[in-house]
């Protein structure tokens, strides 16, 4: 049995995936990227191997992806996360035509061809507005665990209007709503809707076709899924694997290369 690996070194978290020769996911790992990209990538790779119960020398090919991909020195090659997310999303949801990927510091819209290839893509421009960082700021200001934001936001009855698209200034708006005694769930849903609105305008630039698959760390947030489905007026493909989609795509590319090496 041969194996292939994908390691996605994102701005916030690093993901590792091991696939077997049939492309089945047999191991995964997720940890914080931290300051040392090389070390966190290696740790994610090792943890995924351990999760799979596979020895490192059984892995025939490794592809690194994400912003830290060039630091994945133990890998055989690097491919951008844009190409990898398209590949992963197409593998998990074969009907995918559009990928919305919201990560820690960037948001991407990717138009995907019938073979899982990237047809066009668009990304946020040098600004973290509308990215996972927006939610990170809210969690810090409200002193809540990041994972609680989505479930609480779903209780909202009258979401507030967060007008600022700037992550830093949004903090001021949250403070102001707190001072006005607005309900926590309404403030949080307001945040989610602000990200959704920003994402929609980005995705429309490449032309949105169904099915839409939501990937990246923020796809774990149910409140965000809800807000985005409302804003895009379409149901989203989301799965447990969504956060790993870049690493899955990388592992699948690695498997293709392993077969030809």
């Amino acid at each position: 049995m041969i194996y292939a690996a994908g390691v996605d070194s994102g701005s916030t978290q690093t993901k590792g995936i091991i696939v077997d020769e049939d492309g089945k996911i047999v191991g995964r790992a997720l940890l914080d990227t931290g300051a040392n990209t090389v070390r966190s990538s290696e740790r994610a790779f090792r943890a995924a191997l351990e999760n799979a119960g596979v020895e490192a020398n059984a892995v025939k090919y490794t592809v690194g992806t994400g912003y830290g991909r060039y630091k994945i020195t133990f890998g055989n090659t690097q491919i951008t996360e844009i190409t990898c997310h398209a590949k992963g999303a197409h593998h998990v949801f074969p009907g995918t035509c559009t990928v919305v990927d919201i990560g820690g510091q960037d948001t991407k819209g990717i138009r995907v061809g019938q073979d899982g290839e990237v047809v066009d893509f668009v990304m946020n421009d040098k600004c973290a507005a509308g990215t996972g960082r927006f939610l990170g700021v809210a969690a810090e200001v409200l002193d809540l665990p990041l994972d609680d934001l989505g479930p609480i936001s779903l209780e909202a009855k009258k979401p507030v209007d967060i007008s600022s698209t700037c992550t830093v200034f949004a903090e001021t708006e949250i403070m102001s709503y707190l001072a006005q005694k607005k309900k926590l769930e309404d403030i949080l849903m307001g945040m989610h809707l602000a990200i959704a609105a920003r994402t929609v305008s980005l995705v429309r630039r490449i032309g949105m076709n169904q099915q839409v698959t939501f990937t990246g760390g923020v796809s774990r947030n149910r409140g965000m899924v809800h807000a985005l489905e409302e804003a895009l007026e379409t149901p989203l493909n989301v799965s447990e694997e969504s956060q790993y989609m870049g690493a899955i795509g990388a592992a699948l590319f690695a498997l293709e290369r392993a077969r030809t090496v």
Partner: protein, 448 residues
């Protein structure tokens, strides 16, 4: 680690010689301007699309503020100048060529390439909206007169409600009248009488340069392309603009043509193996002038054309030559015809894409075909809405026609709008997409 780009071949004829010549043509411009001033010549600031041949027929020495700002940017020295202008009160989204230039005015005219003489005249030209304000700023700082040369542009519309030919004749007469007034202004400024023969001779030189330039820019149709339209093309263009309408300009372009022909004969190009050919839309990012094209070169991609190649041939674009038998009228026509897309008498031909519309989309598709390109890179300039405003629409419409598109964002002179990691990521992803497209296409041909 700094990436090393392999040179195309150790035996390739040197583009270095031409590059040095371009550098010295542009670099020596200020020193030449001081020498001219000492000789008693008047200094005129004019933009790159200005009436250069006419001004030169009065021995007026020309300084090009756009080239001066681009030079600052390319030498990575623009930011302190831009910040000086911002401290003075200019907004960060003002054209960064302007803020760099204002920074120069606020720095006792000390440019990184030497001190720049102040103008005796500033020539405003209505081709770019920013020129109006820029020339007013120059006037305000240096207390010199402005001459505004206004040439009407008509938006291309279906069922145009006027007699286009009659309108064109009226517009031409309006421009000729202004040229005559510009002549009078120059006569007054320099004390020299206008010499029609000399003007005609300058136009003849411009025609020869235009013809050479049109030949040069078509040579990227060869495979491999003998030069990169951004990395080398913009250098050639800087030299050709600085020397427009002169004997030296003709010699300069002949030399470039000779070098390029040699490269074609040897089958060498900017990269060891040309895999992809791309079009570049809009001006380059001068603060990272080499870095961005080299990111493409790494993936075997070469730029084969940019619509800005029209610039050095003002009036002689696509072999539209000045008619020497009626110099003033012909000069006026060439000023007006520059914007093919805004001249409803003519279909848009390889224009800058400033206006949009169906004709512009077809124009870009024709360019793709003419140069055998695999994709288009749009460069949105943060401080230039004039150049970048239509790019989002183009992206959408051209991409719908099956063309691979990449949108990059940075700036012509302000380095703060460039993010290396983000730019590299976009370029890598785009090149991966092109490679995959090529692979899928070859597989489908294989299956057929």
């Amino acid at each position: 680690m700094k990436e090393q780009i392999q040179s195309s071949s150790p035996t390739a004829p040197p583009t270095e010689g031409v590059r040095q010549e371009t550098k010295s043509a542009v670099k020596d411009a200020f020193a030449d301007a001081w020498l001219a001033k000492e000789r008693g010549a008047k200094i005129c600031y004019t933009y790159v699309l200005g009436p250069i041949e006419l001004l030169r027929s009065f021995d007026i020495h020309l300084v090009f503020p756009e080239i001066s700002s681009a030079q600052m940017a390319a030498k990575k020295t623009a930011l302190p100048y831009i910040q000086k202008a911002e401290d003075y009160g200019y907004a960060a989204d003002t054209c960064s060529y302007v803020t760099a230039d204002v920074g120069l005015y606020l720095s006792d005219m000390k440019h990184p390439l030497g001190r720049v003489p102040t103008p005796d005249l500033v020539l405003n030209d209505t081709l770019c909206n920013t020129y109006y304000k820029w020339s007013e700023i120059t006037q305000d700082f240096h207390k010199c007169p402005i001459f505004t040369l206004d040439h009407p542009v008509r938006m291309a519309r279906k069922n145009y409600p006027y007699d286009l030919e009659a309108l064109y004749r009226e517009d031409r007469a309006y421009v000729v009248d202004q040229i005559e007034r510009l002549i009078a202004t120059c006569e007054q400024l320099t004390g020299q009488k206008f010499d029609m023969d000399r003007f005609r001779a300058n136009l003849d030189l411009a025609n020869r340069m235009g013809a050479l330039w049109c030949e040069i820019i078509d040579k990227t149709r060869n495979r491999p392309s003998p030069f990169d339209a951004v990395l080398e093309g913009y250098n050639y263009m800087g030299g050709a603009t600085t020397l427009k309408g002169t004997e030296e300009g003709v010699v300069y372009l002949e030399k470039i043509k000779g070098d390029i022909d040699q490269r074609i004969e040897m089958g060498v190009g900017p990269v060891p193996e040309e895999k992809f050919r791309l079009l570049w839309m809009s001006a380059p990012c001068y603060p990272y002038f080499r870095k961005i094209p080299e990111m493409f070169h790494k993936a075997g991609a070469v730029f084969v054309y940019t619509p800005q190649f029209m610039q050095p041939t003002r009036g002689t674009y696509r072999m539209q030559q000045y008619d020497l038998s009626r110099p003033l009228e012909s000069y006026a026509e060439c000023l007006m015809d520059y914007f093919h897309a805004r001249n409803p008498r003519k279909p848009p031909q390889w224009s800058m894409g400033w206006v949009g519309g169906g004709g512009e989309i077809d124009n870009q598709l024709q360019l793709m075909e003419h140069f055998g390109a695999d994709g288009i890179v749009y460069h949105a300039i943060k401080s230039c809405r004039m150049n970048s405003g239509s790019l989002a629409d183009f992206r959408e419409h051209v991409s719908r026609r099956g063309v691979s598109i990449l949108m990059l964002e940075s700036d012509i002179a302000d380095p703060r709008f460039f993010s290396e990691a983000q730019t590299r990521n976009r370029i890598d992803a785009f090149m991966e997409g092109l490679a995959e497209k090529k692979l899928l296409r070859s597989q489908s041909v294989g299956h057929a």
